[in-house]
């Protein structure tokens, strides 16, 4: 056995040195390489997972937004229809009111005109009567003057 160990150069101190060397290497690699790499991989995995969650949330929000937008559009359309209908009703009422006012005004104008025409006719009649009377007086004067001259 001793000869075998000597032939291969096996010694306790060298075995221990190699084992300690390997132990140091393992500890160093663990802290300098394995842990940082593991940490980076974990961080990246978390980031990717968060990205997926965010994307899902965004998709959900988008879907909700679409529904909300459709609801808003429908509501707005309803409101617009209401406004248009209201405006139409108001316009119709206004038209009727204006028409009535115009008719009343026209009637009033017609009454005024008739009254004015009657007044003018009466005035003309009175002036005609005055003229006739004046003409009658003139004619009577003429006749009287003629009669007078004849007698004279």
């Amino acid at each position: 056995m001793q000869a075998l160990l000597a032939a291969f150069g096996i010694s306790g101190s060298l075995l221990l040195a190699q084992a300690v060397n390997f132990g140091i290497l393992m500890v160093a690699l663990t802290y300098l390489l394995y842990k940082p790499v593991m940490k980076t991989l974990d961080a990246r995995q978390k980031k990717v997972a968060q990205g997926v969650i965010d994307a899902e949330r965004a998709a959900e929000k988008l879907a909700t937004a679409d529904v909300e937008a459709a609801t808003l559009v429908t509501k707005a359309e309803g409101e617009a229809d209401g406004i248009v209908a209201g405006a139409r009703e108001t316009a119709t009422a206004e038209r009727v009111r204006i028409l009535k006012e115009a008719e009343a005004r026209a009637a009033s104008v017609a009454v005024d005109a008739e009254a004015r025409a009657k007044e003018t006719a009466a005035k003309s009649l009175r002036e005609s009567e005055k003229e006739v009377a004046r003409l009658a007086i003139l004619a009577a004067e003429k006749v009287l003057m003629k009669e007078h001259s004849k007698h004279a």
């Binding site: 096996i10 060298l14 663990t30 980076t40």
Partner: protein
Amino acid sequence: MNSGIHVSLKAETIGHIFGFVVTNSLLMTWIVTALLIIFAFFFGRNLKMIPGKLQAAFEWLFEGAFGYISETLESDKLAKRFFPLLATIFLFVLVANELEFFPGVGSIGIFEGGVLTPFLRAPAADLNLTLALAFISFFTIEITGIATLGGLKYASKFVNLRSPVGFAVGLIEIISNLGRIISFSFRLFGNIFAGEILIMVAGYFLPYLLPAPLIGFEMFIGIVQALVFAMLTLFFIKLAIVDPHESH
């Protein structure tokens, strides 16, 4: 024939630090360790949320390996616990096996008595390293088994007095578990050491033609051996945490 090939089964001593023997394979181990730590330091500090090509490739390997370990052990918690060990075994053995083909490794050294003593030697071509890794794997596997199943239940895998067959199976289990130390260490050592010898011999006979494809092949063997060592450790951990009654 005057042999130009010198083969040393054991790592050569290249110096002493405070009375401690420093071999060329231990020096290479330190270099590999330093390179890995430097890489880890700069790579770990420059990680980005949007990765570059190197980071993306490393993360792909990292995630793949972690997923495989988690799938095999059927637990994320256990995967997190054993990932550093398994990944370090893989990276360390891989880099050590690949760096041995760099110019200068095994070829620069001191000539003494016509024999070259290289400053650097493939770490896995020294049984001290492979045996140390085998012991680390072995104790990790056994301690995990005891910690997960409890001492008595884990011992029941090896000591079964209910039937002669069960007793024999228990003995085989003990031998196979202890045999792992030898299989772990000699598989890696044998492959890498044999590869070095093969390239050395090929270089001696056909120096300008044969070594290149063999180096490519041995680089592939280096990757496979790193993978085998890490994966066997993983599978044996899995076997250790399986309830003995469930496994039957």
